[in-house]
């Protein structure tokens, strides 16, 4: 595997929902230690791209290559097992369950000999994780229902960071956050480069996008308008690409 092989390649992805075309002819390469921002207005198809990559929606046509190998994820568990993690726009947390069960949702730890849940270890590892990422919660035993919006977002991000080994997809990870929390998440996202992860970030904040991203990919009503190097473009250009108005 060479340095320059993309972690993930999308080639000519189309996605239609019963006639409604959500994505057409979308192609993108994601490289390790690089952040690509995906921007576009509401309904442009950003979340749909993420769901296609993670196997939640099958693409209508097009190819997905993971480290050069063609993949065809039929559900989230197959993409997760290949090191792809998502922070979903709605966070995908289970309200009545404690933090530690959410951290291990779908990947619960068990112990021998009966294969029962290893709650003590899940608690401990969750605690280490939230401490390491500086997510401040009173206890990992607390149900998600009892957490603030920012704390929930922190848990969803911590979970993705914990499990991702190749690629992390973040769908508006700072949407519910205050100024200080946003800064903290941005710092975290930036630090993911050091873990050699490829990162796709969806955000409506162009300031944030220009702070974090190496490349910016613009989507308008399912159509890929273009990809720009952050250092070679400016907000005005991106805004006119998003809106289609010069």
């Amino acid at each position: 595997m060479t340095e320059f092989q993309p972690v993930l390649s999308l080639r000519g992805i189309h996605k239609a929902f019963d006639g409604l075309v959500a994505i057409q002819n979308f192609s993108l390469d994601l490289f390790s230690s690089k952040i690509v921002a995906l921007v576009g207005d509401n309904g442009a198809g950003k979340s749909t791209i993420i769901k296609v990559i993670s196997g939640i929606y099958p693409p209508t046509s097009g190819e997905i290559l993971l480290e050069g190998e063609m993949v065809n994820f039929s559900n989230a568990s197959s993409s997760r097992s290949r090191g792809i993690e998502v922070v979903h726009q709605d966070l995908a947390l289970v309200d009545e369950q404690p933090v530690y069960m959410n951290m291990f949702l779908g990947k619960e730890l068990t112990k021998t000999p009966f294969g029962l849940l290893d709650k003590a270890r899940m608690r401990q590892e969750s605690q280490n994780l939230v401490d390491g990422l500086d997510v401040r919660i009173p206890s990992t035993n607390l149900a998600i229902r009892n957490l603030s919006g920012g704390q929930r977002q922190g848990i969803a991000i911590a979970r993705a960071v914990h499990w991702a080994s190749k690629l992390i997809l973040l769908d508006e990870p700072t949407a519910a956050l205050g100024v200080a929390e946003t800064a903290k998440v941005e710092e975290l996202v930036s630090s993911l480069r050091e873990r050699k992860l490829a990162i796709l970030l969806i955000s409506h904040s162009l300031d944030q996008v220009f702070r974090l991203a190496d490349q910016i990919c613009v989507l308008r009503r399912g159509e890929q308008i273009g990809i720009r190097e952050t250092c070679k473009t400016n907000k005005n250009e991106i805004i006119s690409m998003i809106t289609g108005v010069d």
């Binding site: 993670s54 939640i56 559900n75 989230a76 568990s77 197959s78 997760r80 097992s81 998502v86 979903h88 709605d90 966070l91 995908a92 947390l93 289970v94 309200d95 009545e96 369950q97 069960m101 949702l105 779908g106 990947k107 619960e108 068990t110 294969g115 029962l116 849940l117 709650k119 919660i137 009173p138 206890s139 607390l142 009892n146 957490l147 603030s148 704390q151």
Partner: protein, 318 residues
């Protein structure tokens, strides 16, 4: 944050309502019915023996409700399973009878599960329909006749037998509650049931097979209803289409009062056990009080309404 954490701990009165309710009703009958023999070991044992099938059904229902679905057909499954066992035992050995009864329950539960999980039909309507369908099949299986169960080993294991002087129905109850609780609270299957019932989308994007979880929950509920049917057949030494018919309301009430959410995501097996025992105690106490059947129904209805209202009342809901 810390504040609301403490607050939710203190509010456990509502969460533990079933245990207070159970104790309250027990004390009430113990005092008012002392002279009528409520407190005798024999009467108390009787309550546990009589509630054994309902408790087993309640465990199945906890799994189904927690997964965000409902099963209204378990009463009919009880009858079909009991009759199937009784018919098979007439000409086949013990093990065949047991497998047939359990198999019938699992098969009907599986049928419900396929319709609900893979065709995405609402479980309320599916199981309302199969409740009627299998009640009809139970009637036509034997032309409304009652089928005697003469296999002594069977009636021993599932009815009047004892092990180390513990009645077999008590052993079945303890086993089912213990295993049910462990599966519910301490296995990945239990965790996935709760996740699916709470937020099916979150479960799906975490890689949990939502459809399979729903299918298994309904199948398990059918299997447990089958076991309940065999317990009825064992204790009564006969099977009839009426078995399980009157358990629907009692079992749903027991489960809800026991702290299981009607719309999924949380519940309790131990709570369901106490809910079921409370319903049994209520039946027993009202009979000992000398109420006639219509008064019993009224009092029981009012108490169930009260208990359900108290346990479902959410003071923060708009």
């Amino acid at each position: 944050m810390e504040g609301s954490y403490l607050f939710s701990k203190r509010l456990n009165l509502q969460k533990n309502l079933i245990y207070f309710g159970f104790l309250g009703i027990f004390l009430f009958f113990a005092i008012t019915l002392y002279n009528d023999g409520f407190l005798t070991t024999r009467n108390l044992t009787n309550i546990v023996l009589q509630t054994a099938p309902a408790t087993i059904m309640a465990i199945g229902l906890v799994f189904v409700l927690s997964s965000g679905e409902i099963d209204l057909s378990f009463g009919s499954i009880v009858a079909v399973s009991a009759l199937t066992t009784a018919l098979v035992l007439q000409s086949a050995p013990l093990i065949m009878g047991i497998m047939a009864g359990l198999g019938a329950g699992l098969a009907i539960g599986f049928f419900n599960g396929i319709l609900v999980a893979y065709l995405r039909l609402p479980s309320f309507l599916v199981t309302l329909a199969t409740m009627g369908l299998f009640a009809g099949i139970a009637r036509s299986m034997t032309n409304l006749r009652s089928i005697p169960v003469l296999n002594d080993t069977f009636t021993g294991i599932f009815g009047s037998g004892k092990l180390f002087s513990i009645p077999s129905l008590v052993i079945w109850t303890i086993l089912a509650v213990l295993i049910g609780h462990i599966v519910y609270r301490h296995t990945r299957f239990g965790a996935h049931i709760l996740a699916v019932g709470d937020n099916a989308r979150a479960a799906q994007v975490s890689g949990i097979s939502v459809a399979r979880v729903r299918l298994y929950a309904l199948t398990l509920c059918g299997g447990l209803a089958g076991l309940a049917g065999m317990l009825y057949a064992g204790r009564l030494q006969a099977a009839k289409y009426t078995l399980g018919e009157s358990d629907l309301m009692t079992v749903i009430a027991a489960v809800i009062v026991g702290g299981t959410a009607l719309y999924g995501g949380k519940g309790s097996i131990i709570g369901a056990l106490f809910g079921s025992l409370m319903m049994g105690m209520l039946n027993n106490g009202l009979i000992l009080m000398g109420l006639d059947v219509s008064d019993q129904m009224i009092v029981r209805g009012v108490i169930i309404l009260l208990a359900v209202a108290l346990s479902l009342r959410n003071f923060n809901r708009i």
